[in-house]
């Protein structure tokens, strides 16, 4: 049961229209079926299945939710209720780089709000809105569990520690 997660930054996110064709790949289905014996019922495969979709496409389209519902044997509305409950599942295509800035206490004490303002000024968009080129999206997130390096953010799955405005700008500038 090794990781099926691609390295961050390699996912092709596409557009909302592409979502109609989103399905779990045969390899993803095989991964799920290998996991299945560990759980007492198939319903419990829902979170892993949704991760496999998001790892492949960057977000979870309505068509993908209907497909996952069939695979794990629950109603589509159950899948929707789970997708909307968890902050990390995207119902819409995010940016290629999701810049998730912690705005909780330790980060806020050390300048997180300033970082968020500068990011929004740089990209000319508010939070949760991809830039017009689809490259970046800024998100406010709650405590990321790295308060000793506050202020912190995650760009996709990767932490960036001990941020200053200059350090964050430099980090974003060097992304491929």
């Amino acid at each position: 049961m090794t990781s099926q997660t691609p390295e961050s930054g390699t996912v092709a996110h596409g557009t909302a229209a592409d979502g109609a064709a989103h399905r779990l790949s045969p390899a993803a289905i095989a991964t799920l079926e290998r996991l299945a014996p560990r759980y007492a019922n198939r319903e419990a495969l829902l979170l892993p299945a949704l991760w496999l979709v998001q790892d492949a496409y960057g977000w979870i389209s309505e068509a993908a939710m209907q497909h996952v519902a069939e695979v794990v044997g629950v109603s589509p509305v159950r899948v929707l209720s789970v997708v909307t409950f968890y902050h990390m599942y995207h119902e819409h295509p995010p940016g290629r780089y999701n810049v998730q800035v912690c705005h909780n206490l330790s980060c806020s004490l050390l300048g997180a709000e300033d970082l968020l303002e500068r990011l929004q000024a740089r990209f000319g968009v508010g939070v949760n809105t991809p830039t017009p080129d689809g490259r970046f999206m800024i998100q406010r997130v709650e405590c990321l569990g790295a308060c000793e390096h506050a202020p912190v953010c995650q760009v996709n799955e990767d932490f960036v520690f001990d941020l200053t405005p200059a350090k964050l700008e430099a980090h974003l500038d060097q992304l491929p």
Binding site: E43, H87, L105, S108, L109, G145, C147, F159
Partner: protein, 425 residues
């Protein structure tokens, strides 16, 4: 201090690998435990006085003792959903000594007669998940996990289950719901998970740090562990220091060490011109301490309770003089408003109302009765919900209003002045 128990390998290169773990004395104690009857392992942990390190501080051995005699499967769920603001200790164990955790899992599963363990890890810890999964794969390959653990004819499977961003899934029954593929709505208790847990089966939910403490206890004996610390606060603890200290970071100290010692280890305050103002000692869900209270307190369960707060998850957020406590509380409560699961009305509504009012105070647009309204909302939340998320906001709110009252009154006066200015404009 006594020798470190949890952090002894943290500075060692390659500490996350099986070979390094074995070289450094890891994966030795589980054989000793597996040669003992399970009940005797439980007894050692009871003797150790180990208490749950996730936040509640419930005695671990006693929790294990609540499992009924049963023909059903028994599950161990390791809570790696570390999400309490100010807390980052489990991340260090997962990243730097995952084999300590896995050996603890083997010993614990033997003790509670479980063959099925899930590690529920928060989705944001993807890098840690990969490290943990690689360590689990190594343990399988070495025969420390799998169908025939160490040739004993005993099966043990460990499955890592990745969360997807929800603080409430760190609550043990919210965690179980999430593992079952649902929204992480906490369950009404009783029944407690030890009786009806995952998939309706008896289940023990323990924090990462708790399980990682188990190998040392079995190696050295429960009494040796109980000799560390003070009174009913036995053993060592990982403390997470963040905020306005010179060197934020993780420190392992025996329970009962003075807060002043921890502050010293963090290099004191970051700016000599701004002395200590306040400390939130146990993650954001506990009452705040003033500087004077913090400098007088020892870091153990009883001393912190006597000071009117809690040890919680040991996430210490240190705040310097000059910090606007109204804004601090607005930021703090925003978290609970964001993370309330929405199941119980007092919490769903109350967390948002309190947060909205605090931002109005920050922005100078509060209504004259808003502070009274906060108190009333708190009264209608505390103890009136399925889980303790609402309480976890009420306790810090009340403590801030009480201990930093002049700042809240000044904020209210600014709001009044703004209204008056607008009326006469």
């Amino acid at each position: 201090m006594s020798e470190p128990i949890l952090s002894r390998n943290f500075g060692v290169p390659g500490s996350h690998r099986l070979a390094t773990s074995i070289e450094r004395g890891g994966w030795r104690t589980f054989r000793k435990a597996l040669a003992m009857p399970p009940e005797q392992v439980v007894d050692e942990v009871k003797k150790s006085g180990l208490r749950g390190r996730g936040g509640a501080g419930f005695p671990t051995g006693m929790k294990w003792g609540f499992l009924p005699k049963t023909d059903k499967l028994i599950y161990l769920c390791v809570n790696a959903d570390e999400s309490e603001p100010g807390t980052f200790k489990d991340r260090y164990i997962l990243d730097l000594d995952p084999h300590l955790l896995i050996e603890g899992i083997v010993i614990t599963c033997w003790a509670i007669k479980s063959s099925d363990c899930f590690v529920y890890i928060r989705g944001e810890y993807e890098a840690s998940r990969r490290i943990l999964q690689a360590a689990i794969d190594e343990a399988y390959a070495a025969g420390c996990l799998g169908p025939n653990v160490d040739g004993k004819g005993w099966r043990l499977d460990v499955t890592v289950h990745k969360g997807a961003g929800a603080y409430i899934c760190g609550e043990e029954t919210g965690l179980l719901e999430s593992l079952e593929g649902k929204r992480g709505y906490p369950r009404i208790k009783p029944p407690f998970p030890a009786v009806v847990g995952l998939f309706g089966c008896p289940t023990i939910v323990n924090n990462v740090e708790t399980i990682a403490s188990v190998p040392w206890i079995l190696e050295h004996g429960g009494e040796a562990y109980a000799a560390i610390g003070v009174g009913k606060s036995t053993g060592t603890k990982l403390w997470c220091a963040s905020g306005h200290v010179a060197k934020p970071g993780l420190h392992e100290l025996p329970l009962g060490a003075p807060f002043s010692e921890l502050l010293q280890r963090c290099g004191g305050m970051r700016d000599a011109a701004r002395p200590l103002k306040a400390v939130i000692p146990g993650g954001s869900s506990v009452p705040v301490l003033t500087a004077a209270e913090a400098m007088a307190v020892n870091l153990d369960y009883e001393s912190l309770a006597a000071a009117g707060t809690m040890l919680g998850s040991a996430g210490l957020i240190v705040i310097e003089a000059g910090t606007d406590m109204v804004r601090v509380l607005a930021v703090l409560t925003r978290f609970y408003a964001d993370e309330s699961c929405g199941q119980c009305t007092p919490c769903r509504e109350g967390t948002s109302w309190v947060n909205d009012i605090l931002w109005r105070l920050v922005e100078g647009t509060a209504s004259p009765r808003d502070l009274d309204l906060v108190q009333g909302l708190c009264d209608n939340m505390l103890g009136k919900t399925i889980c303790v998320l609402a309480d976890a906001m009420v306790l810090p709110v009340r403590s801030f209003l009480k201990k930093f009252q002049p700042e809240f009154e000044a904020a209210m006066a600014r709001s009044r002045a703004n209204v008056a200015a607008a009326t006469h404009a």
